[in-house]
Symmetry: C2
Subunit: 513 residues, 2 copies
């Protein structure tokens, strides 16, 4: 297990790899009139008007408000110029500023909040400006497409101009969409890349509005899109070092790392810990950087050593262990996680074996390949029904997409078996379907592994495409097409509309390039 | 009249004279339990408790709040350290912070505000802290003795420590009280000096909470206390240059100057314009700096040239002139200002004559002395009733303290006549009494000129002393002993509790030293 000193050395490496952030100025491009319209996603159509004319013709006294939009969802600091109208400003200006990714956040900015997460995530500031005229750059970072201004206590009436975002991120451009793609897929590609770009700050954040953390599960997905777009392998390496430097007491990599004010470990998330060997192997393979593989190989191995306690005779039995905290897999409490976790373990051992091979550690290669084979064989024996061709999980022999998917990802099922299994659950109404976009990614990956381009494209078009049709230009943390107001947090304004785990479409649209 | 270029040169001189501000850290010294008590000024007794123990024993979750007090009323930035309690802070901390000079401002921080001045003067901030632990230094400047913290949206519960003010001002110390004074007068002396210290920033502000402006009327009073305490004549000079650099279109010095973002003129306040020669003369006399007298002499003369339009045959008749805006004198709309303005003019011409003498301008000296004599003679003829020994004003021959006072200040009445006049109005129930502390200062000055030490001390003890007994450690903008909730702004929270024009007691307690 890594000593504290070794961990600190990894944190020092992470610090050295901190990317220089790049900044752009993006001007607001329209004044918005929200129009209530039940036919529109979340009930509001954001009607655009000429912003320059609006700001020229209007000034704003106490109680007045207005909303502007940005040309795209951006991350950074909202900024604007403000001046008084007549005479002079005899007193400070108290203004409320609300930034929203989606219309509900700004249209209903002042509705009571009773959600389950801390309301401070809602992007609202009340500022006091002592002297006018003034150019205001709000000090905090936000994610949004809309800015709402409410005059709380202003002297006389105010004029606004130069409303903008000063965006920040590790990259400041967008690779254009592949030309051969049809229009909708081009939009999906761009929304996917914009999601990555907006999340790619000093590390890969899960969402720039909330929770702004480095999650290992999201990192794997971001690394995939990064590979086919920005190729900022330095930031992937930085993230791996951050995990290596913030271990839990037993040496497990934590589910997420908070970077500020100093890198700090989050909680146990055992499925993510099993992704660590996979992310490390993929990173070494894609970046060609074997040194980090050598450095972190033992740590990756240690993860699987720690996981052994969840297995009995090669079968995952950890779900019932009360002292283990979290097998995430998907946002679905009903999901039996046995098969999925078995799949995680097989995939992790395979990754260790491949990494060992890359590093010339042939003894280890053999050992981990054998481990994977053993667990795969047990999986086929205990969790796969060769007659129905479907993977089952747990004592109730539950059928879910998640179970099929992870048996495909891990190679326990052949691509052809996998495809049959997926087609079978497609026709099993009782089968548990993916709940979060995180699991939808793995469904894309599973269709891809199975070589079923048709289903892959259907899923891209139906699920991701319908977000686009509902106004998305970045992909959403939560998306249930039939439940526009669904929120895991009991308030739709809390949902993140730019979320790493939803943004992998571009990987599938570009990986063959 | 001064050209724009000359004005800019004066502003450049003012800029060079900007004092280096001095900073102190003043720790909060008690936790406060507000106790409703109708026998106490403005209904709240602020019960003090041990702050260190309170902060050690308590942490604060959503909806909780607490109030701390400072050992004295201070001006500067509120600051504190904050940390989370258990686990880690998973989200930003949204905290409301209210700073108050007097109890009502913090006890009733969230009561609706319907006052006549812009509510943004109420010292309230809602801040969002992204990362904990954090030491927060609020960016704006406040004036206060109390800080209230309200947890709006915080992760779990928070611990506070190191609650303090980082004070700022041109001076950072307090001259101790003259040892010979009795206890109450010592307290009055110190509150008076603290008021000056807190208002003495880059210029002499009227009040550090509100309006934070350089008013010519307040400047004269501050210069008087400054003479017997800090002797920062550089700042008085700076203020004179600021007025000289921000003239109204006709060349009149404006009533007030706002310094930020760039020096800017306020409105016509003709009685203050007539104070300009007086302040300039007193400054030259007290500081020994005749150069500034030479520089600004013509401007001072020009003020009185401009005032000629308000006089007919040597008598002030300007009140009825509709195009003139403001003869302030006192916060009292019923006050007939004729006699007071006549007094201002005589005093101003006398000051010009004295200044001319100091500068060796004998021709001017003679001219202005003659002017003063003429106006004084007219005043005695038209406005003074030698039988009753009382000054009257206007067509209604109104009797007021203000009229007596200004005839005394200007020397139209001899000290003995003045004393009789004041004693006479004391026994005239219908006489208009001073309304604002500004006029109470001039009453102090009038008693002083008349050599009536007994009345001077009575006024100090009764009026200023009763503020002390009601909890003041700086003197208040507004004080009506029988109307605790009186506010010119329709909300007592808007009143300033540290206000320049109320702070001259120390001048009278120290001038003989």
């Amino acid at each position: 297990m890594l000593s504290k000193t070794q961990q600190e050395q990894f944190l020092a490496k992470a610090q050295k790899l901190a990317p220089q952030l790049k900044y752009r100025t993006v001007d607001a491009d329209a004044v918005i009139t929200p129009v209530k319209d039940k036919s529109v996603w979340q009930d509001y159509r954001m009607k655009k008007g000429d912003l320059a004319g609006f700001l020229k013709d209007n000034d704003f006294a106490n109680g007045s408000s207005f909303i502007v939009s940005m040309p795209e969802t951006v991350v950074g600091q909202a900024a604007f110029s403000v001046d008084f109208c007549k005479g002079y400003a005899d007193s400070p200006s108290r203004i409320q500023i609300t930034i929203g990714e989606l219309p509900q956040e700004v249209v209903n900015a002042d509705m009571p909040y009773n959600g389950t997460l801390n309301g401070s995530w809602l992007q609202k500031e009340i500022i006091n400006i002592d002297d006018l005229p003034c150019d205001v750059i709000l000090p905090r970072r936000y994610s949004g497409k809309y800015i709402r201004f409410d005059m709380l206590n202003v002297p006389g009436s105010l004029k606004f101009s130069n409303i903008r975002f000063i965006t920040c991120g590790a990259e400041d451009f967008m690779p254009p969409p592949p030309e051969h793609l049809p229009e909708l897929l081009k939009k999906i590609d761009q929304a996917s890349i914009r999601t990555l770009r907006n999340c790619m700050q000093l590390s890969f954040e899960d969402g720039p509005k909330r929770d702004r953390r480095l999650w290992l599960g999201d990192l794997r997905l971001q690394a995939m899109v990064n590979k086919v777009t920005y190729r900022r392998f330095d930031i992937v390496a930085r993230c791996l070092y951050l995990f290596a430097g913030t271990l839990l007491d037993d040496g497990e990599v934590c589910g997420c790392v908070m970077e500020r004010p100093a890198p700090r470990r989050g909680c146990h998330t055992h499925d993510y810990a099993m992704l660590f060997p996979i992310v490390l192997k993929e990173h070494c393979s894609w970046s060609g950087d074997l040194a980090i593989g050598e450095e972190l190989f033992d740590l990756a191995c240690h993860q699987m050593k720690l996981m052994e306690r969840f297995f009995t005779d090669g079968l995952f039995t950890g779900v019932n262990d009360p002292w283990t905290s979290w097998f995430f897999v998907d946002h679905d409490l009903e999901l039996d996680r046995q098969a999925a976790m078995q799949g995680h373990a097989v995939a992790a051992y395979r990754a260790l074996a491949e990494l060992a091979a890359m590093l010339g550690k042939h003894e280890q290669q053999t050992k981990f390949a054998a481990k994977a084979d053993t667990l795969a064989a047990v999986a086929r024996e205990k969790l796969y029904d060769p007659v129905s061709g479907v993977v089952v999980s747990g004592k109730e022999r539950q059928i879910s997409y998640a179970s099929q998917i992870w048996m495909i990802i891990s190679g326990v099922l052949t691509p052809e078996e996998g495809r049959k299994a997926l087609l079978a659950v497609e026709n099993t109404p009782a089968a548990l379907r993916p709940s979060s976009p995180y699991m939808f990614h793995y469904l894309l990956e599973a269709w891809d592994i199975c070589g079923d381009e048709k289903h892959l494209l259907e899923l891209l078009t139906d699920y991701y495409g319908s977000m686009i049709n509902n106004g998305a230009d970045t992909f959403w943390e939560v998306y249930r097409p039939d439940e526009p107001f669904f929120s895991p947090y009991n308030d739709v304004r809390m949902n993140s509309a730019c979320h790493a785990w939803s943004g992998t479409a571009a990987y599938f649209l570009r990986k063959g390039n």
